[in-house]
Amino acid sequence: MKDNIQAGKPLAPNPLNNPKVRAFVFQLAVLTLVGVAGWALIDNTVTNLQRLNIASGFGFLDNTAGFGIVQTLVAYSEQSSYGRALLVGFLNTLLVAAIGIVIATVLGFTLGIARLSSNWLVAKLATVYIETVRNVPLLLQLFFWYFAVLRTLPLPRESHSLFDMFFVNNRGVFMPAVHVEGSSLLLVGVALFGTVVAIGLRYFIKSQDLPSGRLVLAGRLAPVLIFLLPLLVFFVAGMEFQVEVPALRGFGFRGGWSFIPELVALVLSLSIYTAAFIAENVRSGILSVSKGQSEAARALGLPPGRVLRLVVIPQALRVVIPPLTSQYLNLTKNSSLAVAIAYPDLVSVFSGTVLNQTGQAVEVIAITMTIYLSMSLLISLFMNWYNRHMALVER
């Protein structure tokens, strides 16, 4: 080195001291390591599957399932395929998640606002609820609602009933169903049309930059378009509807709409549990809105309800929505606890029964994980978009 300096040549840097080279080498090493580890895993799995003579491939999805499922949203029978059973389980998961999210949101917002209420008793009751529910495992609550509460419900013959139309017993909750004569699809179509028009109108008024009073008008027109329009069609077309009341026949109630106890228990525990977390998000969201905002609103003469609805909540929502999303995601993932109480969701039907019947653990678990993963990523992406859409545009 000394020679170099004496010769007046520039100092040739050791390539290992070049950050770029080092980063490249390091990344290459990690990639190789991960690759080798992954290869070893795959290699082991392949060898094991062959050595043990375990069937593999996705052909089993077309085989006849041969087992029954207690709740199916699409046509399914014992002769259907395993693939169909997968679809049934997936839809049941979506059903629980959808109902659970709605109830948890309503309950969570109520509790979050109640916890900040100026009414001492209401605030304390909300606090007790939140602190109790949050600190007890969900699975335990699920078992409690299913096994301990189910035990106290009567047999179908001695059901609790309301107006002889709604029944509760240890086989579930039963309520009258409304069947529309003729094409009920038409009504759904009209309602969808109304929704589209309402949304279009709102965007049109917004794009015209008209005074905000028109926007309120669009808001008021929406329910007319969505609900009254189908009703109008219904009467004009002279359609008739029938109410089917559940009736005790044989072992239980037949007819009407029914919710099996597993669904009720799962939805109850999921939404009660998640509501406690949502309430905390809502509370911190509201606290994040500066006090001056509500004071100014009150100074303008807005009554307390409107202060909350028009000033505080819209601002709090920006803070609330990101953690709210993760709560929705958690709820969806937690719905997999269904397997503990035999609600036929994705995990219970597919990773449970189908895995057992076929013995093809690798394929079954892979499909299950891929479905959950895609659901999570989709929701994340959607919320990412929504968040950017809602973000405060600062000057």
Partner: protein, 373 residues
Amino acid sequence: MSDHFVRTQSSPTLLPPSSRLGVLQWMRENLFSSWANGLFTVAGLYLLTLAFPPIFNWAFLSAVFTGQDGSVCRADGVGACWAFIDAKFNQFVYGRYPAGEQWRVDVTALLGIAGLAPLLVPNRLPKQWFVGFLLLVFPFLAFVLLYGGTAGLVVVETSDWGGLMVTLVVAVTGIAASLPLGVFLALGRRSKMPVIRILSIMFIELWRGVPLITVLFMASVMLPLFLPEGMSFDKLLRALIGVALFSSAYMAEVVRGGLASVPVGQYEAAKALGLTYPQMMSRIVLPQALTTVIPGIVNNFIGLFKDTTLVLVIGLFDLLGIVQSNFTDPAWISPQTSTTGYVFAAFVFWIFCFSMSRYSIYMERRLETDTQR
């Protein structure tokens, strides 16, 4: 001239009107401040009178506290069957761990508490010694004590472990393994090297995107197929691996929050001083980042502690699992057994989680005051 009057002393203050005093005023302000509020109060009170007396009656007045078997709980109108808890208490804590060896579990727990306590309370003791003990010595000691096989201790199979002990083993192992893993993943996710970052993101999002139950199913039915022939893991160990992978992803996200909260100036100053990346991270950035996220880590631990109940789905007997498996003991079957058991388990979990959440809030307050100038 002398008829004007100048007061030389202040007059005694008058009390406010009685309706503005004490309890009444408090009630006016806090319970009946408006028409609607009054309505809420009445509704709340009604709810209380509806719920409280039956619960009190069930838990205390008509409860059974002592008894040799379930026959005492089978009578009509009997409330909680606490005698069941009393009779099975040992099993709820230790599972089927042999009675003569249970001192080993106690010693392990005491060692753990002794190592942890000085870290939780602010004091001047040398923290690095306790951290070193907990991370390097304690796991080894705990394994030797609980499993045995060396030092003249009888081997106790993990299939005999159960109850609160398994709950704590799973939760503590999960958090201890996920903390270092989580730190590396968080650093990886913030790395400037694309390969490292993408691999970290993939790992984190993969585990966060799937439910713990499928991870546990995978660990219990698929992990054995991943291993070379003849190698197999203990069932509890498989569950622990699943829990550790799962919670490290969540831990990484918490730590990342902490890393983001360290001002850029700190990084720049460290680099300007000529510190290498490991030096910068271990001496400057991580100490600050980890301190700010202590509440987050504790919250993570609470979540993990509650999630340990899921191991019962793959056939391990944690606290909830062992309580539940005792419901079918023919000697103790009664209409109240299951409700009592669930309430007891809920209470135990609640005590743990609630105290941890209080601790987390306490730390949060302390950190807030620490950073205020």
